[in-house]
Symmetry: C2
Subunit: 325 residues, 2 copies
């Protein structure tokens, strides 16, 4: 059974190949050979390249046949890769996509600096696309991403964090780049202002659904190469945790205090957390919220050109959450 | 006795005040209050703001009276501050400008992410300046800075590193931003292509002289709030060390092997290194090289408009190295 991602990759195959070639070329560095080593480790690990695919899809909806979508798709993937490198330093992670992280294989220094290099490279690529409006969108997205990450850091371990703050965090760290990816794709393809807005909103809702699903997978799934329970071990406030804290009885509260507020993770805590989530019906309620965002994303597509790409973007929204079941 | 920096600050006072206001406004973050805290700690520590001053000076040479020079000067300072935040993580420093570093006061995470935020902010400011050529220059500078830092990391502890590689490293990590600062200043002020090139080359030579002087100050000076000997403790290959290794006898070689290659710093090593440098006349030879770059920077100014700003830029080149004596 093929997935909407695979089908979009087939529909946009020539352009996606051009993106891959551009990524390989632009991660080279004449002066510092360690840069492509570190980058290739991460990019070679074969993420699904959802973000560049979204840029190509948004442009492809309008049969765009210029070359800026390819540059912008590579830009978006570079920004994403740079944030992954920095995230692994921030989270002190040792595994990503089922492989050891760059900070473990090389060092934190390389992860920080190669991330900076990829940001700069992404920036050069955008400039080549030659549109100040595109630059404005991506500059704003970069600021919102960093704000989201800092916000996440500053509310970490705070049991009183409301769900609204969680949404603000993931809107920054995940949805902002999804939204920018679709928005710039539509923009370079010459879509109408209404369509550009609709595609930006699609990316935003899709990104939020995607991140909620990712947080659920950290609890229940191993198929994406994550260490299950990483978020709990790091005391991260995800939607299930925030909802569980809101309804906790005295005994559960003691558990969350130790695990999240004081960061004292113990063997077996993932199982205790899952038991609480199941008893309280929390995983179902979080899945339902994720599907609300899926519906919101899909609604954004209704007035866009009705073609094969739109159909796959519709299914993609469901797919990012359906992988949960 | 006033310095050329103080005199340039007086000549460009109104504009420099506008830069300071813009920096204070743009480091705010509605979503993440930790961002201005961390930034203010560093920016408030009162560096001399040489880089934004260079942008204002380059534009001021041509009596520029628009507002883009102020935006670009703030951009340049944000890029510089972002690299300082990341450098302190990479170098594991605990002191900068005589105060504890941000990574010590908060954590490495905050330094990485607030640095990313400042990069993104700088990028927004450049977009506002509205010139793709300016964006191209600053995007390239950002890439060269990151390459310089990664190159430095990958040659660290390698005793065979030639002086040419050292120049390549500091051209990246320091001179690239100096050169971009003067180049974009000249560009927004509408200078001729020859003058833009001359001002870029001035910034490049000044940056190299500045960094060589900085490396010497790490050995011999405490007045800039550095821990003297930090570079030796970190096993960094600076110009004095590279020249000392090139002429080392067997006994000295054993010393450099332990200190630089194996990174086994011991109490008293700074004094041993200084004794070697003095015996071999190395500090004088390095000072001479720094002054060669000063002369090179000054030569770039000869065909530029002959006014008070040019006179101070001439003296500034000498001053960045003369602070050594």
């Amino acid at each position: 059974m093929t997935t909407p991602i695979a089908r979009l990759q087939t529909l946009l195959e020539t352009r996606m190949n051009a993106v891959n070639t551009m990524i390989a070329t632009r991660m080279e560095s004449e002066n510092a050979p360690r840069i492509p080593e570190v980058t290739a480790h991460l990019i070679g690990a074969g993420g699904k390249r959802v973000r560049p695919l979204l840029t190509l899809a948004a442009a492809g909806l309008y049969d765009y046949d210029g070359e800026h979508d390819v540059k912008l798709a590579a830009t978006v993937e570079f920004i994403h890769t740079a944030t992954l490198l920095h995230d692994d330093v921030v989270d002190e992670s040792d595994q990503r996509r089922g492989r050891p992280t760059a900070n473990l294989l090389w060092d934190n220094q390389s992860s920080v600096l190669v991330g900076d290099y990829l940001f700069a490279r992404s920036f050069q690529l955008m400039v080549e696309a030659g549109s100040l409006r595109v630059l404005d969108i991506l500059a704003n997205a970069s600021a919102v991403i960093a704000e989201g990450e800092v916000l996440q850091l500053s509310v970490s371990r705070n049991l009183g964090t409301p769900e609204e703050t969680y949404i603000r965090v993931i809107r920054g760290k995940t949805a902002a780049l999804f939204a920018a990816a679709t928005e710039v794709g539509a923009l370079v393809a010459g879509a109408s202002e209404d369509d550009i807005t609709a595609l930006r909103d699609y990316g935003d809702a899709l990104g939020i659904a995607f991140q909620i699903a990712d947080d659920l997978l950290d609890l229940t799934g191993e198929e994406i190469g994550k260490n299950t329970g990483d978020d709990l071990r790091e005391g991260k406030l995800t939607m299930p945790v925030i909802r569980a804290i809101a309804v906790a009885d005295a005994e559960e509260r003691v558990f969350w205090e130790r695990l999240i507020a004081r960061g004292r993770y113990q063997e077996g805590d993932l199982e205790i957390a899952l038991a609480i989530f199941n008893r309280r019906g929390i995983l179902d309620s979080v899945r339902k919220t994720a599907f609300d965002y899926v519906a919101q994303a899909q609604a954004c597509l209704k007035d866009l050109p009705d073609n094969a790409i739109r159909a796959e973007m519709h299914d993609l929204a469901e797919f990012v959450v359906a992988r949960l079941r």
